[in-house]
């Protein structure tokens, strides 16, 4: 398959799945098989595209010219190649898992759920491979709207209110800040194409640069920078497969990815370093990292705790992008991968505990470890990766961002990251210790479907594999920061 064809397959396989599902809904098995099969197509396509990108190519497809100077173009950048693999690869596991979860919980409206889920993945793939900022924005919005029915899936009062916050913050920030930011760039640079080294150097008045950075930093609501992070904990009202794939990977990583793309391919690292336009952002990211970790400690609800941990981890990537140093930006890209595999593991485990034992509080987990050992071992590995302990993937990205902080002349950030790791140890290992080191709990009836146990085990193993596969990742990240 030519890389150009692969781009189309990767982006439109999920959409085809979404279109097919309503017609397959008469037969639940057939309907639920559509997701994994489509995911497999997407993933293979993503691998083909990534292979082409690794050799230095940047395959591109223009679907349609929306208007003069506004092409619906997909062009795969090295960063996009990586993100595409992450989103489609984890979709395979997530779609298997969500089948197990939705059936185990006997949820209603499973067809609508499956359709929106597939559309969301379609949007994520399109974001990953977008060729210019406007295409990225278009699918950024599609992603928001397609995930709304997933967040409000339960249709309870609480879910609807969460949906309001979700739409209000994500759409509000994107329309009020992000879109004017994009149009400002368009007018200043005359183009919106992602270009190595950025497009704003010598075109944007350096005095205006911090303001433009602010439009993007707060306009990209999906990256959940404080104080616009509230939508993410609210979105946890969604079924766990949504939290796992979308609010640990696709949606939030689309935010982080957008941030990275804007900083690297629109502003350009050198331009940011010369003007210091993003230094304030690094401090805000540092604040978010620590503040949300502290909030996470206070949360007893497992998913709420994981949500605040995600906010903290997303700001690692914002920090990496804001440091204006090549090695930090590379670390940001690597962190997208590492955190995705680790955090999806944790959410899968949280869901498995909920389906299997109907528990959702950290304080209820005492002595549960021996009853569901695989789940808690997977949780342990995921937690270690986020903390940054070798031989797990998360250690590499943390190291790269730390190096980048010194490189950028902000050694204090190393301390911030170290303190954050300590806080991670506290709030992520607590569930594991409670499960294994408290007396065995035999009161709870445990019945975990296999489809909810297998995926977290696999993703936990992926976190280990990624530690040893770091060279592949850095070969992409080096291509990304090449001038």
């Amino acid at each position: 398959m030519a890389p150009e064809t692969a781009i189309l397959v990767g982006i439109f396989a999920p959409l085809a799945v979404a279109a097919l599902i309503p017609f397959l809904s008469f037969q639940a098995n057939l309907r639920d098989a559509a997701g994994p099969v489509g995911a497999l197509f997407s993933f293979v396509a993503a691998l083909i595209v990534a292979k082409a990108v690794m050799t230095g190519a940047s395959p591109s497809v223009t679907l349609v010219t929306i208007s003069e100077g506004l092409d619906l173009t997909f062009r795969v950048t090295p960063a996009g190649a990586i993100f595409g693999c992450v989103a489609s690869g984890l979709w395979i596991l997530a779609s298997l898992y969500s089948t197990g979860y939705m059936r185990g919980n006997k949820e209603k409206n499973q067809t609508r759920f499956a359709v929106c889920y597939a559309v969301a993945v379609h949007a994520a793939m399109a974001i990953a491979w977008s060729g210019n900022l406007m295409v990225l924005f278009i699918f950024y919005e599609v992603l928001t709207f397609s995930t709304y029915p997933l967040v409000t899936h339960k249709e309870s009062r609480e879910a609807i209110n969460a949906g309001r916050l979700y739409m209000g913050i994500l759409v509000g920030t994107s329309v009020v800040l992000l879109l004017p930011g994009i149009i400002w760039v368009w007018l200043v640079a005359g183009t919106l194409d992602f270009t190595n080294g950025g497009i704003l150097a010598n075109r944007l008045d350096p005095a205006h640069a911090p303001w433009l950075v602010a439009l993007f930093a707060f306009g990209i609501g999906k990256v959940a920078l404080m104080p616009i992070h509230r939508w993410l904990p609210a979105a946890m009202v969604a079924p766990t497969p949504v939290s796992a794939l979308l609010h640990a990977v696709a949606v939030v990583k689309a935010g982080a990815f957008t941030m990275l793309m804007v900083m690297v391919y629109i502003f350009g690292i050198d331009f940011l370093a010369d003007t210091g336009a993003s230094e304030w952002l690094a401090w805000l990211a540092a604040f978010t990292i620590l503040a949300s970790s502290v909030v996470a400690i206070s949360k007893d609800d497992i998913k709420a705790r994981l949500a605040y941990s995600t906010i903290s981890q997303l700001s690692y990537i914002v920090l990496a992008a804001a440091l204006a140093s090549s090695i930090a930006a590379e670390g940001g890209l690597v962190h997208i991968v590492m955190h995705a595999s680790a955090k999806i593991t944790l959410f899968f485990c949280a869901g498995a505990i909920y389906v299997g034992a109907h528990l959702n509080k950290v304080s209820q987990l005492d002595g549960l470890g021996p009853r569901m050992p695989l789940v808690f071992i997977a949780f342990f590995l995921g937690a270690l990766s986020i903390i940054g302990v070798p031989p797990l993937g998360g250690s590499w990205s943390k190291l790269m961002i730390m190096t980048g902080s010194i490189d950028a002349g902000l050694p204090l950030m190393v301390a911030v990251l170290a303190v954050s790791s300590l806080l991670n140890v506290y709030y992520l290992l607590e569930p594991v210790f409670r499960a294994f080191f408290r007396p065995v709990n035999t009161d709870v009836k445990v019945d975990t479907p296999l489809l909810t146990v297998l995926p977290p085990v696999i993703t936990a193993l992926i976190s280990v594999v990624l530690f040893f596969a770091i060279n592949i990742l850095t070969s992409f990240s080096q291509l990304m920061v090449m001038p």
């Binding site: 349609v64 010219t65 919005e141 329309v175």
Partner: protein
């Protein structure tokens, strides 16, 4: 097959002539067929003209009297574009109107209703096509009186329609009178009524005070007809209480023609008097547009009746169009014309859906009573959703294109605080749409169960919804036509 030279007059004549026939016909189906055929012919003529338009101004001398003495109809980039929008939307709403008019209007009045309908359309087309400032007043009155008749037909469902019609009659008459007084001043100074001739003669006039007064009167009168804040007060009740089919047609096309006239006055007739035009645009139209956007959005958020909510939102949307015009440069006026096209599609679709819901529920539709209707009428409701998302400017819909070009025009003229206000109100419009979404889709289906939906109602609705998507993905053509229109009215020149 159509002689291009005759197009300016054909688009007006098709509906006007057929109106007379319809009024005399006792058969409602034939009246509907004739109405459909004549609006369809109008669309064919307008579209042929727009497609074949080469940038050259085609003039048609009525009765063989050459302008500036005789009345002139003009086909140029701007009039053809607006005329096509009017023809297209009136054609599709005529098809849609059949089942609704039969349900909402007394049997013996149906033929006459179609006659008034066609008169309104013909009058609006006349406003768009005429090149004569006084003749424009005549068409303004024709369309007004026909519209008043149509609105008052809503009196069977709700007596408040009669008050709304009366209000529109009085306020509309004041607007038209203001306009004609303004024309009188210009005529006194220049001795001509032909727009192109006025454009040439006005700069040479020595008496500038009467011209300023005339210009202000004309603009003020047209602002009333275009429902620009704060002289929009007739609109929510008129659209809210008119029969559903009438609301659809009016919302899609009626104010668009008046907004177009605004551009004609400012950029064509008074083209040579830049200072005066700038004064009105910068200090009257621009602030009013921004206020319209905010007030309309906020009133829509607070409104509980569906049709009135859509009407309040129209106030805000008209504000977006006039905001583009008030910038006065090609980019801004282009953005205005783009939104004239897109908003006609958006609001046309939404009012169609509101009409479909009204007919099914057989009462006024409030937001609360929409509970679960998404599940009871999925075909209608999902098309309504597409138009709604287009209204708030979701990418890949027509509304997004409007928003991008408006913001682009604002950024290029460095109007930072206005951009802030515009995008903020655009985000606020999410609130009123979301009240509808939550009611329709996040509630259990009403006890009455699935409703059988009428294909004659939902097919036109879906056509509009799909065009909303089409123009969101492939906007180049609309943009080029809009740019051509902006240049034709003489923006920035």
């Amino acid at each position: 097959m159509l002689d291009l030279a005759h197009i300016p007059v054909l688009v007006v004549l098709f509906p006007l002539l057929m109106a007379a026939v319809c009024a005399l016909l006792p058969f409602r189906n034939i009246a509907w067929l004739l109405a459909t055929a004549s609006t369809g012919m109008g669309l064919l003529a307008a579209w042929t003209g727009l497609e074949a338009h080469s940038g050259e101004r085609v003039s048609y001398a009525l009765g063989g009297w050459p302008p500036p003495w005789g009345i002139e109809f003009v086909a140029d980039g701007a009039s053809l574009l607006v005329s096509t929008v009017v023809a297209g939307l009136s054609f599709i709403s005529t098809i849609y109107a059949k089942s609704l008019i039969e349900k909402e209007i007394d049997e013996h009045l149906i033929g006459k209703a179609y006659a008034a309908w066609l008169l309104a359309v013909g009058g609006i087309q006349g406003i768009v096509m005429t090149g004569d400032a006084f003749n424009l007043f005549v068409f303004l009155e024709i369309s007004s009186l026909a519209t008043v008749t149509l609105i008052s037909l809503g009196g069977r469902q709700d007596r408040r329609a009669l008050i709304a019609a009366y209000n529109y009659l009085v306020i509309g008459a004041i607007g038209a009178t203001f306009y004609v007084i303004g024309v009188g001043f210009c005529y006194a100074v220049t001795g001509t009524l032909n727009m192109a001739d006025l454009m040439v003669r006005l700069p040479d006039a020595t008496a500038t005070a009467p011209l300023l007064v005339g210009f202000s009167f004309m603009v003020a009168g047209i602002l009333v007809k275009a429902a620009v804040f704060p002289v929009h007060i007739w609109l929510p009740a008129a659209y809210g209480y008119a029969p559903s089919a009438v609301s659809t047609m009016l919302a899609a096309v009626a104010t668009k023609a008046s907004i177009y006239v605004l551009a004609r006055i400012a950029f064509t007739i008074f083209d040579g008097l830049d200072d005066m035009v700038f004064l009105i645009l910068e200090f009257v139209l621009l602030p009013l547009s921004v206020m319209a956007i905010f007030v309309g959005t906020i009133l829509a958020i607070m409104e509980s009746d569906l049709k009135k909510l859509l009407a309040q939102s129209s106030i805000a949307q008209i504000g977006y169009i006039t905001l583009g015009f008030s910038l006065g440069n090609v980019l801004g006026v282009t953005a205005g014309f783009v939104h004239i096209v897109n908003h006609a599609l958006i609001k046309g679709g939404l009012f169609m859906a509101a009409g479909a819901l009204t007919v099914v529920m057989a009462r006024r539709v409030s937001i609360d009573s929409l509970a679960g209707m998404g599940r009871a009428m999925p075909i209608t409701s999902s098309a309504m959703m597409i138009c709604g998302l287009s209204l708030i400017g979701l990418p890949l819909t027509a509304g997004f294109i409007s928003k991008v070009y408006l913001v682009l025009a604002l950024v290029s003229s460095a109007s930072w605080w206005i951009i802030g206000l515009v995008v903020m109100s655009s985000a606020l419009s999410l609130i009123y749409l979301w009240r509808i979404v939550e009611a329709m889709w996040m509630q259990p289906m009403p006890a009455s169960g699935r409703v059988r939906e009428d294909p004659l109602i939902y097919t036109p609705l879906w056509v509009i919804a799909l065009i909303n998507i089409w123009f969101g993905v492939d906007a180049g053509r609309v943009f080029r036509f809009a740019e051509q229109a902006a240049k034709a009215v003489g923006a920035g020149g």
